[in-house]
């Protein structure tokens, strides 16, 4: 096929992808608007605008500025972070069962926080976000070091260095299971820790406050920058390590950048919101039929879908069980998973 015949088709594809990106962005904005206006106290859109642009200290202004906006901002950050991290993780391990927690991040954060409750007698987890983040980073470094060991099934392709998909996934599972077991032991021996932990593990973006948003923002931004830099290399890697090496890729470097991005993104999200495994695991599978396998498009689609879904689920969780709320993680799974199963049934799945 000549170059002149290919160019218009590529332009058409690009236009379609860009318009899809715009649609997803619009969906996210709509979800954010809902998240700011809907809740125990419904706020008209005009009042919300008033609170955002020229606050005068009315009740609605205070509700919006001190509660709804931080909550929405955290939802957007966490949704984007987990969606992108999940797509990266599945790309690097080439395993549809991979989620960002596979690097040990979730369980590392959980163990650090639960231990801090017992050691420091804390009654809530928010003061220990830094500890959670440190736990997430430590666990992920351990998994990466262990997964970088060459050998075992799938690891016999010699040379290069860097982790292979199978050893990385298995090492992550083993470390996660170990940390989860230690966390379970702590909460079973300490009832106060259990009382905090059971709410943490269902995941929530409520009542975190604006400070938390600013704490995690730098990590998410750094992670997104690394993810963007990682996308072309990941495309080459998905052709197989040998082909990628032949194309001039530094495989160990690509893997290291990818893992660093996943750690920063999911570490920040998990430390702030608790375990929201659904976003990282399922959202990439939702995005893949729209984007195809090109990670330069898959990553932004996953991020936007993740954030929009997280906000919508949070809004639904606020209104379904008045006067209480359902945790966002629970709503996400209850609404998102059936939709996901339907999607898997309807079309032939895009394989990794």
């Amino acid at each position: 096929m000549s170059a002149t015949a290919v160019a218009p088709r590529l332009r058409g594809l690009r236009a379609r992808r860009l318009s899809l990106l715009a649609v997803l962005l619009a969906a996210l904005l709509l979800a954010a608007a809902l998240s700011i206006t809907v809740g125990a106290k419904p706020v008209p859109l005009a009042d919300a605008w008033h609170a955002l642009t020229a606050p005068t200290g009315t009740d609605n202004d205070i509700v919006i500025r001190s509660l709804r906006v931080p909550r929405t901002a955290l939802g957007v950050l966490a949704g984007i972070a987990l969606g992108v991290a999940g797509a990266l993780m599945q790309g690097h391990t080439r395993n549809p069962l991979a989620d960002p927690g596979l690097l040990g991040v979730t369980q590392g954060a959980a163990f650090a926080m639960v231990t801090s409750i017992v050691v420091f007698g804390a009654s809530n987890l928010l003061g220990y976000i830094w500890l959670g983040l440190a736990g997430a980073l430590a666990a992920s470094v351990a998994v990466f070091a262990l997964g970088s060991v060459r050998g075992g099934p799938g690891g016999r392709a010699a040379g290069g260095g860097g982790p292979t998909p199978v050893t990385l996934a298995l090492a992550g599972t083993a470390v996660s299971a170990l940390l989860y077991a230690l966390t379970s032991a702590v909460v079973l021996l300490d009832e106060q820790a259990m009382d905090v932990f059971r709410f943490w593990q269902s995941g929530s973006i409520a009542a975190r406050g604006g400070a938390v948003v600013w704490q995690v923002l730098p990590f998410v931004l750094a992670g997104l920058a690394l993810a963007a830099a990682n996308a072309p290399g990941l495309n080459a890697l998905s052709l197989g390590e040998d082909v990628a090496r032949g194309l001039g890729q530094n495989i160990a470097m690509t893997r290291a950048v990818g893992v660093a991005a996943v750690t920063l993104l999911s570490g920040a999200a998990v430390a702030a919101c608790g375990s929201l495994s659904f976003v990282g695991l399922v959202v990439p599978h939702l995005a893949r039929p729209l984007s195809g396998t090109d990670h330069r498009w898959l990553l932004p689609y996953s991020g936007l879908i993740g954030a929009a879904l997280l906000l919508l689920a949070d809004v639904i969780g606020r209104v379904v069980a008045p006067p209480g709320e359902l945790e966002v993680g629970v709503v996400l799974a209850l609404i998102g998973a059936p939709f996901f199963v339907l999607l898997v049934r309807r079309r032939k799945p895009v394989r990794l």
């Binding site: 069962l97 060991v149 050998g151 298995l170 083993a174 079973l188 945790e327 199963v341 049934r345 799945p349």
Partner: protein, 347 residues
């Protein structure tokens, strides 16, 4: 020589000496661990009195050993074997080392049913020690497990069963079940939550013959059945097109093996709760010890039994007099060993 052909009554098998050695060594370790476990209890016994207690009906220890301690030790070994075998089949069918009966909907379905039961009933039926725990919880677990598996299977079936679609549907259904479980844990009283957490972690505390018998029966029927079906698992390692071309009736073979995996996991979970990590780790450990291409069925079962029996021993002694649920310890023992095997395999 890595494999010896054996022909019996028109059937031919390949026997790998290394696999046989792993299985036999595992059985020896298992017997030792069970004997050590049976020493523990309100009255500590010597190994000698445990052995005479089993063999000699006139021994003063006979009742304690046979009615209280042996059932618990056996329950651990059999449940571990059943979970590991189920995991080995699931990983072979899904062609994925991260797959476990969890994606078949069994353990997560059982967890939801039991947690709902415990949270709803509270102390009404006497909590952990009353009717609810001896009859209700295993029944709920069996019902929930089989319902979950049927749901996953029905949703994944679409003009045949695609291994990849099964995994994806399994993820979705497990996500629903897991989060419903989390939600149930947050609405309950914290005491109920604690009791539910013990069951979710998998516990062998106070298991008697009534827990052992169903698992033993399931293993007696399903181990020979799965060993006969092992050859179709070898074929299933290749892609779907290759399998069809090799003349394996793919859907039938896969459906039967998955049914076996579901039944094994459901019965094991009903007896001891969803003991974590055994189904995932034991096949991967056995695969590395026996050096085979896919998880070896019999060696996986033995490794699972050893892992669970050893974990129970540690769970009872580590924080004595507090007994941890066995499922908390399986990962503490199994994960470092799996990590060690991955580490050792470096070239």
């Amino acid at each position: 020589m890595t494999a010896l052909p054996v022909r019996v009554a028109g059937l031919s098998f390949r026997v790998r000496p290394r696999g046989v050695a792993v299985t036999l060594a595992g059985l020896a370790v298992l017997v030792l661990l069970m004997a050590l476990n049976m020493r523990l209890g309100n009255i500590s016994m010597s190994l000698g009195s445990v052995v005479t207690g089993v063999l000699d009906p006139a021994s003063p220890d006979h009742f304690v050993v046979m009615e209280l301690r042996l059932p618990r030790a056996l329950a651990g070994a059999l449940v571990g074997a059943a979970l590991a075998l189920s995991g080995a089949i699931t990983q072979s069918v899904a062609r994925n080392p991260l797959a476990s009966p969890e994606i078949l909907g069994v353990t997560t379905g059982a967890s939801v049913a039991v947690v709902a039961g415990i949270v709803a009933a509270g102390n009404v039926y006497g909590g952990v020690s009353g009717l609810l725990s001896t009859l209700g919880v295993p029944a709920l677990a069996l019902l929930g497990g089989l319902t979950g598996a049927a749901l996953v299977y029905a949703l994944a079936w679409r003009r045949g069963l695609d291994g990849y679609r099964l995994v994806l549907v399994g993820i979705g259904v497990a996500a629903v079940f897991t989060n419903v479980k989390f939600w149930l844990l947050t609405i309950g009283d914290v005491d109920d939550t604690g009791r539910a957490m013990v069951w979710i972690s998998g516990s062998l505390n106070a298991r008697g013959w009534e827990h052992v018998t169903p698992v033993a029966l399931a293993l007696a029927v399903l181990v020979p059945a799965t060993l006969l079906g092992a050859r179709s698992l070898d074929a299933l390692r290749f892609g779907d097109d290759t399998v069809t071309a090799l003349g394996v009736r793919m859907n039938a073979a896969r459906a039967l093996m998955i049914l076996a995996a579901v039944l094994l996991a459901a019965v094991a979970t009903a007896a001891a709760g969803p003991i974590a990590f055994v189904a995932l780790a034991a096949p991967q450990i056995a695969l590395r010890l026996a050096r085979t291409g896919r998880p070896p069925l019999l060696s996986s079962a033995v490794v699972g039994a050893v892992l669970t029996a050893g974990s129970d021993l540690l769970a009872r002694t580590a924080f004595s007099p507090v007994e941890l649920p066995v499922g908390v310890v399986t990962a503490v023992l199994g994960a470092p060993y799996l990590i060690h095997l991955i580490w050792r395999a470096r070239t």
